[in-house]
Structures are given as C-alpha cells and as structure tokens.
C-alpha cells in the first residue's frame, strides 16, 4: 500500500519496511524520555573518564615537556630549592633551581606492595570464601558473612592508624624478628617499629580480602549442586572435588575479583601514607624498610608543591597521577584479557578430568 492510502485508512502504525523504523514509530513519549535518560546515564562514566584523562594530561603537560624521558629513568624526585632566587629552564618551562622529577622508586613501591598484598590476600580470601560457602555450618554462615562485609566498609584511614600504632609494632616485635633471624636475602634487616614495606603490604592485604572473599563466596555458592554431588558420588575426596569441579567453574570470577582488589591496592593512598614511612629517592633494601608509592607521595608532597612559585612541582605531581591512572587502566585491561584467556564454559569437560 502507498503511504497516502495508509494515512487515508487512519492506521496508527504505517507499514514501513525496516523493523527498526517500525520499533521507533511504536515508541511513546515516555519511552523516549526514559531511553534518553538511560543513555545519558550509561555514557556518563565514559564521559567522566575521558574528562578526567584529559584534565590529567593538561595538568601534566608542562611536566611531560620539562622532564622528557628522564621521568621514567631516574630515581630522584626533588622539588628543588624553593627558596633560591634562580630558576631552571628546560624546553621552555621553568622549575625551581635544582628540581628534578623521576618516578622510578614510586612505581617500584606501588607495584611491589600491591603484588605482595595480592599474593597474601588471594589464597586467604579464596580459602575463606570456600569454607564459608561450603564447609561452615549453615547457622554460622550468616554471622561470619556479616563480619566479612563489615571489614569491607572500614575506612582506609582507620586501617592506617591501626597499622602504625598497633599492627605494625606488634609485627615488628614478633613475626618480623623471626623472619629476620632466618637471614634470607631481602627478608632480613632492621625490623624497625612498624613503618615499612611488609607492614603496608599486609595492611593492604587485609583491606582487599573482603573484596575478593565476598565475590568468591557468591561464586562458590553458584556452582551447581549436581556437579558437586556427582563428584562426591564418584568417590572424590573433598580436595579433589574442589580442584576438579568447583575451581574451574569459578576461576574467571576469582581472577576478576582479584583484579578488583589489585585496583584498590594500587590506588590506596591514606593508609599507605601513614604506614609506609614515605622514604624518598631510595629503593627499600629489605622488606622491612620504609618506601613510598605514587598515590601516597602525591598526597604527601602536594602541600609543598603548592608553595612552588613556578608551579612546575604541581605539574610534576600531575604527571605522577597520570602515570598511576595509566597503570591502573593497564592492570584492569590485563585482568580482562586474563579472564578471557582462562574462561571456560563452566563444565570441566575435556580438561584432564
């Protein structure tokens, strides 16, 4: 039928060829409003991330030009002499006399502390979640689960204070002394009073355990009971049942949860600021030595950087922040790649059962 004929017949829905156009013409005004609002809400995170990245780049640009590649190759981060009368100039940008910005010790501290935290937290959370989901009597599951959730909600500054006043000194007097007595290279040395790399990593581990454990617990609960019962019926021991049936089901989910935890550990600022000792321009000689991370250093140095009349110090901290953003994105994307690599259909068929 032609269009005029359709209209003459007073049809509400004109017959048009494409289903898409038909769908669009069937929408009421409310549909349109809702879909617009939802589209806006969905694109907001992308816009926010893009805006954040743009602003970070803009703030870091003078430092990027000033530093060049020495930012990634030197281990000295100094604001220079803010009370000198002369300034340094590189590539058209000015900085305080003697200023030099190198990020290597910060990257080292961030990556190593997050890695140690992950190595400690993942086995603990996965084992704990497994116990909570399968082995603990049902009447206790609720209560213990609540403790886990509460741990996730504790502010990080509380963790920092607890770490520096209680946990750190306790560890340095007991566990660290025993470790140091073994004289393993890099794991021995003066144990200090609580501020250091291992204490910070352990507190970070405590902070990321709830994230990984809650997610893992839900994953373990979602494993089909039939498969678990089948394993028991076949005569597998509990360990074998977990290894052969449960783990392949939840493997990708656990990796994803670990990446979430890693993201938190990479960006943790206040707790690390209080516990790390903020050692500048040196690599920790032992696992008990003070160190510094990118996030904590930005927070620590910012006040001083704001007094720099050339403003280059703030731009340099912006460059550190930009690098942290890039590292976090890489960690997230790497995690996604990892989950895709290890993903299965869920059934451990043809995987060496």
């Amino acid at each position: 039928m032609t269009d005029t004929a359709e209209r003459a017949l007073g049809q509400a829905t004109p017959l048009v060829s494409s289903p898409r156009a038909r769908r669009r013409s069937e929408l009421t005004r409310r549909d349109v409003v809702v879909s617009t609002v939802l589209t806006g809400a969905a694109t907001l995170p992308t816009i926010a991330l893009a805006f954040l990245a743009y602003e970070m780049l803009r703030s870091a640009w003078p430092a990027i030009v000033f530093n060049g590649t020495s930012f990634f190759t030197t281990k000295t981060f100094t604001l220079g002499n803010l009370y000198a009368t002369s300034v340094e100039t590189h590539h058209g940008y000015q900085a305080a006399a003697g200023a030099h910005y190198g990020v290597l010790p910060f990257v080292f501290g961030t990556v190593v502390s997050s890695f140690i935290a992950l190595v400690v937290a993942v086995p603990v959370s996965v084992a704990g979640a497994l116990l909570l989901a399968d082995k603990v009597p049902a009447r206790l599951q609720g209560t213990l689960g609540i403790f886990l959730e509460v741990l996730a909600g504790i502010p990080s500054v509380v963790f920092g204070l607890w770490g520096v006043y209680t946990f750190g000194p306790l560890l340095s007097r007991t566990v660290f002394k025993w470790m140091a007595a073994l004289h393993i290279p890099w794991l021995s040395g003066p144990t200090g009073a609580g501020q250091g790399l291992l204490t910070s990593s352990l507190v970070l581990a405590v902070m990321i355990v709830p994230i990984i454990a809650s997610t893992s617990r839900e994953l373990f609960r979602s494993v089909p009971v039939l498969s678990k019962e089948g394993a028991v019926a076949m005569g597998m021991t509990p360990y074998e049942a977990v290894r052969v049936v449960t783990i392949p089901f939840v493997r990708t989910g656990i990796i994803a949860a670990s990446i979430l935890g890693l993201g938190r550990a990479l960006g943790e600022t206040i707790a690390v600021l209080i516990i790390s000792g903020n050692a500048l321009n040196l690599y920790p000689h032992s696992i008990f030595d003070p160190f510094s991370t990118m996030a904590a250093s930005i927070a620590a140095i910012l006040d001083g950087a704001l007094t720099d009349s050339t403003h280059m110090a703030v731009h340099a901290l912006g460059e550190v922040g930009l690098l942290l953003l890039v590292i976090t994105l890489i960690a997230n994307l790497g995690g996604r790649w990892l989950t895709r690599r290890f993903s299965t259909t869920g059934l451990p068929v043809g995987r060496g059962v």
Partner: protein, 375 residues
C-alpha cells in the same frame, strides 16, 4: 565657661565611646647615626560593624598559641572570631596565596619567588618561637649535640648513638649502642624550614645538598621515619627507641610527658643551650638588628653566648588588599592586638607555649606592615 568646656569634654568622650571605631596612633622613634627621626604609624583598629570570622590555617607550631588567643580576642572585640587550624606552614602559605583562608600561619618567611609572583602578599610576625631536638634514649639526659652532628645523622652518616662524633661532645655520658632512627615531617612544614636552616648554617654538605625549605629532598638515611605535625613527631618518637626528632617548643610539654629528652644544642659562640625564654630572647634580640621592610628575616644560629640556635619569627601570611573593609579592619585589629603586650603578647599566653614577644626594635616595622592592610 568652665562648665561648658567640661560638658564638651564629657560629650566628646561619650561620643568616642559610642562610636564603632577608634584611631590608635603610635609614634615611633628611630635613631640613625646621631640624628633622631620620628615616624608616626597610624593603624586603624577597632571592632568591625559586622561579625567577621578570620580563617587561619597552617603552622602546627603556631596553632596552640592561636587557639589560646581565640577567647580573649573575642572578649575584647565581640565582632571578631579567629578560627585557626593546623596543617603545616606550606599549607598555610599556599592557602593564603590561593585565598582559601584569609591568613596563613607559617614559621617560614616567604621565598623571593613567592613574593615576586604574588605582589601584595605579606608575612607579618606576631611572636618569636623556637624548636627543640628531642631524642628517645632512656637514662640519658642533657645530651649535647651540634648542628654538624645532627646534619650527619640525617644524612645517614652517623647511625649509632655511641658513634665517635656524638661521644666526643658528651665525654662523661655513657651512650648506648642503639641505632639512631631519624624522624622527619612528611607535611610541608615550617619546622622543617627552621630545622634545615639550622643544618644548612652548620654543615656545608647539607647547605649544598638539601639546603632549606618547607619541603626539602631529605638524604636517604636508613630507617628514617615520617610523622605528621608536631604531635605526630612526639608520638612517633615516643614509640621508637633511639629516635631523634625536631619538635616545636609549643609541643615540648607533651614531649616531656612522653619521656623524651631535650638536647642541648651548640650555638655560634660554642655554648650548649636549651630553649628557654632567656635563650630565645637573646637570639631574637641578636637577629633583629637589620630586619628588612618585608619582615622576611631568619633568626637561626645567631651570635651571643646565650642565644639558642633554632629560633624563628612566627608569621601570619596574608594579602594586603582584602575583599571588604570589615575584614581588613578585623585583620588589622587582630594583628595589632596580638603583638600588644597588653593583648595577645602578654606573658600568660606566650609562656604557655614557650614563645617570647617580638623584640621592641621590630615593632615599628610590624605596625607599618599592618597599616598596609586595606579593604
């Protein structure tokens, strides 16, 4: 006739009392090479017509003193409320520059770069304070240290308390074989500024290396710890046997309670002194002879047998042009009252924090600076 004159006098006094502001004119006399010139500095002060809150942020060394002044200031001038907060001198300076607070508290004077980048930014001293070096060694009291030795400790060159340079200064004291744990401030701090100024004045390696500032590049001393604010320094040192920390005198009472020892520092004349009102006053007097008009003056390592080596002016950093005339009036009034011995600079308030009043020679320049605040 006489009654008329008396009536007129009483009437004018009554009018002046009812009025919102009064004029305080102070005449000062300066003597140069035999001639006497009198400069009259008029600072307009008084209670503003509307309530004004003066927000202050910055030095944790100055903070307890400002806290003491809040109530008496408000009692004297009911429309002025002072709202101090700590955060470190660097924060005080940067907040004052950006306008987040009206006044920044700082133990450090402004740098040439800051002064040239911000015309109209001023630092006005209101008191003289000092800094002690505390240590955590049980059984050792009145330890003698020199700036050179302390610089080497913070450079990581001296690592044990019974090392030769320290033992040489303390002949009749048995020093334990404990590792020295230096503690430094992590926030941008005026205490760091005066401490590193002292180290720069006494150790050439330090002068050419980290030099001085509210934030410096600390050398990599093994095991060095960080703390936030003066109370944080006391806490960290208390928890760490063998520590050495620099603590402002306003926190010395808590350092004594925590069981930390106070070192006797070698001054320029070779005497070992501790901070007390006598030694601080001596240093301030020795250093106030030639204060520049912008009042940026260091009082570190001054001459004099009695002078304590780590002494400094406590500055309020602010902009000379304020947003409203009420704010400017409130600021001038607070500052003039704070340096007045009958007001904020009375011994009751100062002694509680171990501060001393500004030397009399500096007051005319301070008043001249206060008079420049307009709104």
């Amino acid at each position: 006739m006489k009654r008329l004159i008396l009536l007129a006098l009483v009437g004018s006094v009554a009018l002046a009392a009812c009025g919102g502001s009064s004029n305080n004119a102070s005449s000062t006399t300066s003597t140069t090479a035999g001639t006497t010139t009198t400069t009259s500095v008029t600072v307009t002060t008084g209670n503003p017509t509307a309530a004004v809150t003066l927000n202050e942020a910055g030095s944790s060394l100055l903070y307890p003193f400002l806290q003491e002044l809040v109530t008496p200031l408000h009692t004297q001038y009911s429309n002025i409320t002072l709202a101090p907060s700590p955060g470190g001198s660097g924060k005080g300076i940067s907040d004052a520059i950006s306008g987040v607070v009206q006044m920044g508290g700082s133990d450090a004077y402004l740098s040439p770069g800051q002064l040239s980048a911000n015309p109209g930014l001023m630092n006005i001293p209101i008191a003289v304070s000092a800094q002690a070096v505390n240590y955590n060694l049980s059984g050792v009291s009145n330890l003698k240290l020199s700036g050179d030795v302390i610089a080497q400790i913070y450079e990581g060159k001296i690592t044990k308390w019974n090392a030769q340079p320290i033992a040489a200064l303390n002949q009749n004291v048995t020093l334990p074989d404990t590792t020295i744990v230096p503690v430094r401030r992590v926030d941008s701090s005026g205490d760091t500024f005066i401490f590193t100024s002292f180290l720069s004045a006494t150790n050439t390696t330090w002068q050419s290396g980290p030099a001085f500032g509210t934030t410096v590049t600390w050398p990599a001393a093994p095991g060095e710890l960080t703390a936030n604010g003066n109370p944080g320094m006391v806490q960290t040192c208390k928890a760490t046997p063998g520590c050495i920390a620099y603590v402002g005198v306003s926190a010395e009472a808590s350092a004594q309670t925590a069981g930390l020892g106070e070192a006797m520092l070698e001054n320029k004349a070779g005497q070992f002194v501790q901070p007390s009102s006598d030694t601080i006053t001596a240093a301030a007097a020795a250093g106030s002879g030639n204060v520049p008009a912008n009042l940026a003056q260091s009082l570190i390592y001054e001459d004099g047998a009695q002078s304590y080596p780590i002494v400094n002016f406590e500055y309020m950093v602010l902009k000379s042009s304020q947003s409203s005339s009420d704010t400017a009036l409130a600021m001038r009034t607070f500052l003039a009252w704070a340096v007045d011995p009958a007001g904020g600079s009375s011994s009751t308030y100062l002694a509680k924090e171990d501060f001393v009043a500004l030397p009399a020679t500096v007051l005319p320049k301070v008043k001249a600076a206060i008079a420049q605040i307009t709104g």
